[in-house]
């Protein structure tokens, strides 16, 4: 073979040979092979999702103190009085690598299903040098080098939030007091919640709940940190954190049967050794084995005679070392921008290299509730329809930031700055999220930085109702 056309001709013969060797698959044979998954489940899932959204919305409302800071249109901005009119990029173009810290990062070498097309949830496997995104059935959807998401190394038990067009945010998966972390697998949800996280529950798509933590472990001091459902849905691999933060990986059958530790103990009541060993949940292999690490010298608790990371058959307890490929399973969720305002604020946050904060998803609404960390201070930011401010502001003034019209005021002792940009009224400050509230100078600085990255035209300053 001496020229490319010979190579092309040879490859065409290869293609023809492959076509001849394989009979096309008849759709009818596929229909016979596997029955469709129950379609009605989708409706149940929608109901669950709607219920969760409602709960989250209520939580968000409570967190905001119940203020009605929504804005209603009194009159549209008929004339443009601002001087900043910028055009959004035709495609969202955040930096290929994001800022350090906890802000979103876009792995430059990601290869796989576009983020917009990812399912809502899945699990990421960290093996060796790569992070692989899988759906909850174990299908590998994409991967990228682990060093392109350096934040993973700084969070002990991480979870990933994937924002199409923005990046991946690493957050802690550990259940906080009063929180309720849910991981899902094909419609079922595992929740570690209840007072002091004393409850590990399986939430089924039909809305029923199975309490999985009804045995002796409840008598111990501690809490559930998180739980992963096995690929076949028959087991939960739960992380129990006992006194002195002694962790135990627990294998919990979802039929309500007795749970046991990853090393096979069904009780903590033994007074003679051997005792259950400290163990860390890592996740599930695609073939349904629990991956658990038994540390060599745990800070508290008992070490395993044979420390290491193992894949454990939940039925038999048989262990297979997996130390050749360090393994870590991380839940992820795709967070779609529900509206243009969410996208605008997220994009601006990334472009400015700021850390996002204070946010709640829109839950189907048209506004955005978010914020940024500005010089260590959390600055809440709301975006909604253009119109007068309904909140009872005092010290209201029409002023300027960088020559652009804004409205300033005070809400319950906290500085507020609002401006109209395009079809959105942005409202900065007015609530204390964490630490000291942002002052008027900080709000002006945030507005000054934010406006060019919102890609809009600044309009008349918002009025205050009443």
């Amino acid at each position: 073979m001496t020229a490319d056309h010979d190579l092309d001709a040879g490859l065409r013969r290869v293609a023809a040979a492959l076509d001849r060797a394989v009979t096309p698959i008849d759709p009818a044979a596929v229909l016979d092979r596997r029955p469709p998954a129950g379609a009605p489940r989708g409706q149940a899932l929608l109901a669950v999702a709607a219920a969760l959204a409602l709960v989250a919305a209520v939580v968000a409302a409570l967190a905001s103190g119940g203020d009605d800071r929504s804005v209603q249109t009194e009159r549209p901005p008929v004339s443009v009085v601002g001087e900043t009119t910028t055009t959004a990029p035709t495609t969202t173009a955040p930096p290929e690598t994001g800022p350090p810290g906890t802000g979103p990062v876009r792995p430059a070498s990601y290869e796989g299903v576009p983020w917009e097309q990812l399912p809502e949830r899945g699990e990421a496997v960290v093996e060796g040098e790569r992070v692989t995104l899988r759906d909850l059935a174990g299908t590998e959807l994409g991967s990228f080098p682990v060093d392109e998401l350096p934040q993973l190394g700084s969070v002990e038990e991480p979870r990933l939030r994937i924002q199409p067009g923005v990046g991946i945010t690493v957050a802690s998966a550990v259940v906080e007091e009063g929180d309720c972390l849910v991981t899902t697998a094909d419609g079922n949800r595992v929740a570690a919640c209840g007072p002091e996280q004393g409850t590990l529950a399986l939430l089924r798509p039909d809305g029923t709940t199975v309490d999985l933590a009804g045995m002796a472990i409840d008598a111990r001091i501690g809490r559930w940190r998180r739980g992963f459902l096995s690929p076949d849905g028959r087991w939960v691999l739960g992380q129990w954190s006992a006194e002195c933060e002694t962790p135990f990986a627990m294998l919990v059958p979802t039929d309500g049967g007795p749970m046991r530790t990853a090393d096979g103990f069904t009780t903590f009541d033994g007074s003679e050794p051997p005792f259950p060993a400290t163990s860390w949940v890592q996740g599930w292999t695609a073939d349904g084995r629990a991956v658990v690490t038994f540390p060599d010298q745990p800070a508290c608790g008992q070490g395993d005679p044979q420390p290491g990371t193992y894949a454990i058959d939940p039925e038999t307890g048989a262990r297979t070392p997996v130390d050749a490929e360090p393994f870590r399973l991380i839940p992820w969720a795709r967070s779609s921008h529900e509206n243009d305002r969410e996208l605008a604020l997220s994009r601006a946050t990334v472009e400015l290299g700021l850390e996002p904060c204070c946010g709640e998803p829109a839950h189907g609404g048209g506004g955005v509730t978010g914020g940024v960390v500005w010089e260590g201070t959390e600055v809440p930011i709301l975006g909604g329809d253009v119109g007068p401010i309904q909140s009872p502001l005092t010290d209201v003034a029409a002023t300027e930031v960088d020559g652009l019209p804004v409205t300033t005021g005070v809400l319950e002792g906290n500085a507020v700055l609002a401006f109209t940009c395009g079809d959105t009224r942005w409202f900065l400050g007015g609530a204390v999220v964490a630490g000291a509230p942002p002052g008027p100078e900080q709000l002006a600085a945030v507005a000054s930085a934010l406006i060019p990255h919102l890609y809009c035209t600044v309009g008349p300053p918002p009025a205050v109702a009443g």
């Binding site: 190579l7 013969r13 698959i25 229909l31 299903v113 299908t139």
Partner: protein, 161 residues
């Protein structure tokens, strides 16, 4: 006995007719005739099971390509790629040069798939990239590397250079 074809079945049949050839060719190029065919069947079965979701996907073939890949890995059967032996009706056809078959076998599955889809079947880059669930730029990388390896192995000169 009458056979009732539901709307879902009809839509799936149409989907299969359109999707199956590219999916099968990609998976067979990657994993060989037997494994590739099995993976295609698995992926289409998965698609039937989750068809409501599959119908809404922007690039269902790309997703199914990954389902097929996972099926191969789970089966643990991935071995050395080989061109199928000539069949009974192949006697009068030009044979594939053994060195080319060996060269293809030495490529990574993705390089081999890119080369076979684009240069063997003549798919446009965008179509081949969609079949492999990747961007055109990524496909081009696999293609360039695969072709370079093949040319080196076979001592091929590039006509266009």
């Amino acid at each position: 006995m009458s056979v009732v074809v539901t709307d879902r079945q009809a839509r799936f049949t149409a989907f299969c007719t359109e999707t199956e050839p590219r999916l099968r060719r990609a998976l067979v190029a990657a994993y060989g005739a037997e494994l590739g065919a099995d993976a295609t069947a698995d992926a289409l079965a998965w698609a039937w099971e989750h068809f409501e979701r599959v119908e809404r996907m922007a690039n269902a073939p790309g997703y199914l390509w990954r389902v097929g890949q996972t099926s191969v890995r789970r089966a643990g059967r991935q071995g050395r790629w080989a061109l199928p032996a000539p069949g009974d009706g192949d006697g009068d056809r030009l044979p594939v040069e053994p060195a080319l078959a060996a060269g293809l076998a030495a490529l990574s599955p993705r390089q081999r798939t890119a080369v076979v889809l684009v240069h063997g079947y003549g798919y446009p880059l965008a179509e081949a990239a969609a079949a492999m669930g990747c961007r055109v730029g990524t496909l081009r990388n696999h293609l360039d590397r695969g072709l370079t390896a093949l040319r080196t192995r076979l001592g091929v000169t590039d006509d266009d250079r």
